[in-house]
């Protein structure tokens, strides 16, 4: 009798093990599930339209936004970004020298995983690495210049679908998984995760704001926010989100934030870049 019980227990464990293995990291399956969730939740929204955030879910806001787009509030920043991008460094080199395609129309490929350093390189980080390589000081990740530069680069990629690659490298998979964990982890005194707002409650109001869906949420960045009275980078958005749930934000471009950006961009692969965007 005991022999059979032990045999049954061993069998049960051996059956359970493959199920656990199936819980392994599978970004492609995650992206499919992620997309399906939003498509099923909002059957009347066209897939590409998720890149327009709350405007894809609220008709009144959409009308106002479309009118604002006639004279978009990010236009000045766009001009500044173009000038900054073209301005040579002290050594005569340019930002363009640091990027494929001279930096034009490449925003959809960021963040990328750098197999040399084993790190996620966001567009913001790539810009500062470029500066430092050319003997310039790094600029603030939450400042106006970074917002302007990324706005210009996003503008040159408008309409191009996100094309984030996860190479066959365990470190890249780990970075992706870290980003996913960060996205779903509750934090701050309000006990909110990113998913609490952007998965469970998109389309609902948080005070005067309509919450954006997580699918395509980074496609519109950087954004002009009326609440900020100016442009804001992805870094600024993450920092302010953490503050809003009463958590102490991490330092801009912390590994967790870069991994989060990697995860969120990957699951939005195929959706067009719509940045720079504007929000109330």
């Amino acid at each position: 009798m005991r022999f059979w019980l032990i045999t049954l227990a061993v069998l049960a464990l051996s059956v359970a093990h493959p199920a656990h293995a199936a819980d392994g990291i599978d970004p492609a399956a995650d992206a499919r599930a992620f997309r399906n969730y939003f498509v099923e939740k909002f059957p009347n929204v066209k897939l590409d339209d998720f890149a327009n955030g709350p405007y894809s879910l609220n008709e009144d806001m959409r009308r106002q936004w479309e009118e604002k787009e006639q004279f978009p509030p990010y236009e000045f920043s766009l001009e500044t970004g173009k000038e900054l991008f073209a301005k040579p460094f002290a050594n005569g080199k340019h930002y363009a020298d640091c990027f494929p395609e001279q930096g034009i129309g490449v925003r959809q490929n960021y963040p990328r995983f750098d197999e040399k350093t084993g790190q996620v390189i966001t567009l913001e980080l790539a810009l500062n690495l470029c500066r430092e390589t050319n003997g310039e000081k790094a600029i603030s990740y939450t400042g106006d210049d970074m917002a302007a530069l990324t706005a210009y680069m996003a503008f040159t990629s408008r309409g191009k679908p996100f094309d984030i690659k996860i190479p066959n490298d365990p470190r890249a998979l780990e970075a992706y998984e870290n980003g996913k964990r960060y996205f779903y982890t509750r934090r701050g005194q309000l006990n909110f995760s990113c998913a609490t707002c952007h998965v469970q409650n998109p389309g609902e109001r948080l005070r005067a704001e309509v919450l954006a869906p997580a699918l395509g949420i980074l496609n519109a960045l950087p954004i002009y926010r009326s609440e900020w009275g100016g442009m804001g980078t992805t870094s600024r958005r993450f920092v302010s989100c953490n503050s809003q749930v009463r958590g102490v934000p991490l330092e801009p471009q912390a590994e967790e934030y870069r991994d989060l950006e990697y995860f969120l961009s990957y699951v939005s692969n195929g959706l067009p870049i719509s940045g720079p965007g504007s929000r109330p």
């Binding site: 992620f34 779903y184 701050g188 005194q189 006990n191 995760s193 469970q200 102490v248 991490l250």
Partner: protein
Amino acid sequence: MRILSRAWMPLCCVPLAFLTSGAALAASSDADFRSAYARADAAEKEAGRLRNQWIATEAALTEARAAAEKQDFEAAIAAAKEAEALAKASIFQATNEKDAWKNLEIR
């Protein structure tokens, strides 16, 4: 006179004893604050190691330091205790979320 002195001596000692105990109370309050603050600070550092500090904890620690500077140890100790409780709650949250995050995951 000698009798009178003996009679009055305990009475004279009352204010002296009161003053002494008052000083002891103040000293003990300062020590209590330092101890309460050290506990709160240690808990907040642990929350920092877990990358999950709360704004309210930082505010309570600042409040505790400000009250202590004004020698208001009662308020300082209360704020330090609040900071410790908040920091411990954030540690619990971070520890609990090590696995609980999976419950929110889209599959």
